[in-house]
Amino acid sequence: MVQRCKACGGYQWYPRPSCVRCGSMEVEWVQSKGEGSVYSYTVVRRVVANSPDFQRDIPFVVAEVDLNEGVRIYARVEGVKPEDVRVGMRVKVSFDNVTPEISLYKFQPAK
């Protein structure tokens, strides 16, 4: 899901109470196609003190993904070796059910 402004039609991420293009508060949630490309990425090799839970996952890739709707989102990229990730790589969303209540978006290479 991403936000779209009902007044000007612009999309935005992360979610905010008003549109960054026109200031309207008529922003709605719409379903993203979940497709995009890697704008930039990092391979996390050391975790910081306040995120010890990520220790078991290193090395892992976090990317800035530009979705087709024209917004940029930070997310894990999985299903590909860190050394094979490329800027510009096409990716598609999937969801991880972390807990019964929380589902976290992530991306993998588009087929």
Binding site: W13, Y39, V44, N50, V71, Y74, A75, V87
Partner: protein, 395 residues
Amino acid sequence: MFSASVSVTGYAETPVSRARVDKGEKKLTIEEYYAWALNLLLKQTELSLKDFKGQGVGVTGSAYPRAEIWSAEVVQNLGLEPKLLVRADQGGANGTALLIAGALAIHAGYVDHFLILGADTPMNIAGEGSLTWRYELDYLMPVGMMGPNSMAAMMMRRQMEVYGYKPEQYGKVSVSQRENASKNPMAYFRTPLKIEEYLSSPMISDPLRMLDICPFVNGGFAVLLSKTSLAWKISDKPVKLVGFGEWHNPDASNTLRDITSTGLKIASKQAYEMSGVKPSNISLLSAYDDYTPVVLMQLEDAGFCEKGEAGRFVEENDLTYCGNLPVNTGGGLLSYGQAGMAGGLHHVTEAVRQLRSEAGERQVKDARYAMVTGLGALAHGGSFINSCALIFEGV
């Protein structure tokens, strides 16, 4: 027109510390650093607390928890009674933003002097968890972003991809600034570095290595701004502020911003136009340097080279204090250390020291104009939200 109506008439910095008590280092409180910085400034300027009554005071934000009314606490602790009190919350740009706010207040005639105080003790609060912000908590940390390191890594990867920058070019920044720091007894890391050591330093958030990252220190700073017409009464070496510019949240409505450039493009243009100074006139650059890729980015944005040319620029130029474009002659945050939310004042005190010819072994010859930059707040999907540029002229 601003016409250099404001000058820096005093500056001070405390020794910095990583609070390694096991190594005999001091572990002082943030209040002690504020007091120490002010005390040093009073000694240098031979002013007393009552000289600041009814003047302006600016206090940098703090990473210290429970600092909700921080500027008020600071003036109460120190016995200051200002007419104007400003607190900055522009992160790395805190110090530079306060200089501009203070200069505007003096230029407007509301105060004659504006005292800027900044101290922070990030080494004392590790684990207390206040070093974050809301969009980081909600949209960055849950997906595994490791704070500012990962944000800087994104910029670096994009630069490497689009402009073809090489690890050695980032390493040159790290090595050159360490060379500068080796001549600065106040810098925390002073042992000269070889490029091989840079290249073999551990990958933290790939492509960002440990030696691309500035380490935290505890420390405090004070800078005094005065109306230029009164400056000679306070200092025999006043340093004139000849130009400045700020810009915040560049390209605000664009949801796909370029993370390889900053608002410094606009801020530095203002400073150049106000001062009539060109990049080729700048004797030294104090560039905000929490990470090496950020230094490359600013060489472009502040007009020292074209976008995409910074890698070659650092390769072909000498960035040390005796080079053709000295950058961060005191070591910068990379080697001097970053005193948390007050860290950006290091760039100011070093530039002022150079323009007063007080930099000892690392003195830049014939230093006349210095540019100081400040960048703050890592942007969601962008580079930095806050950008400041200042141009100073020495005596």
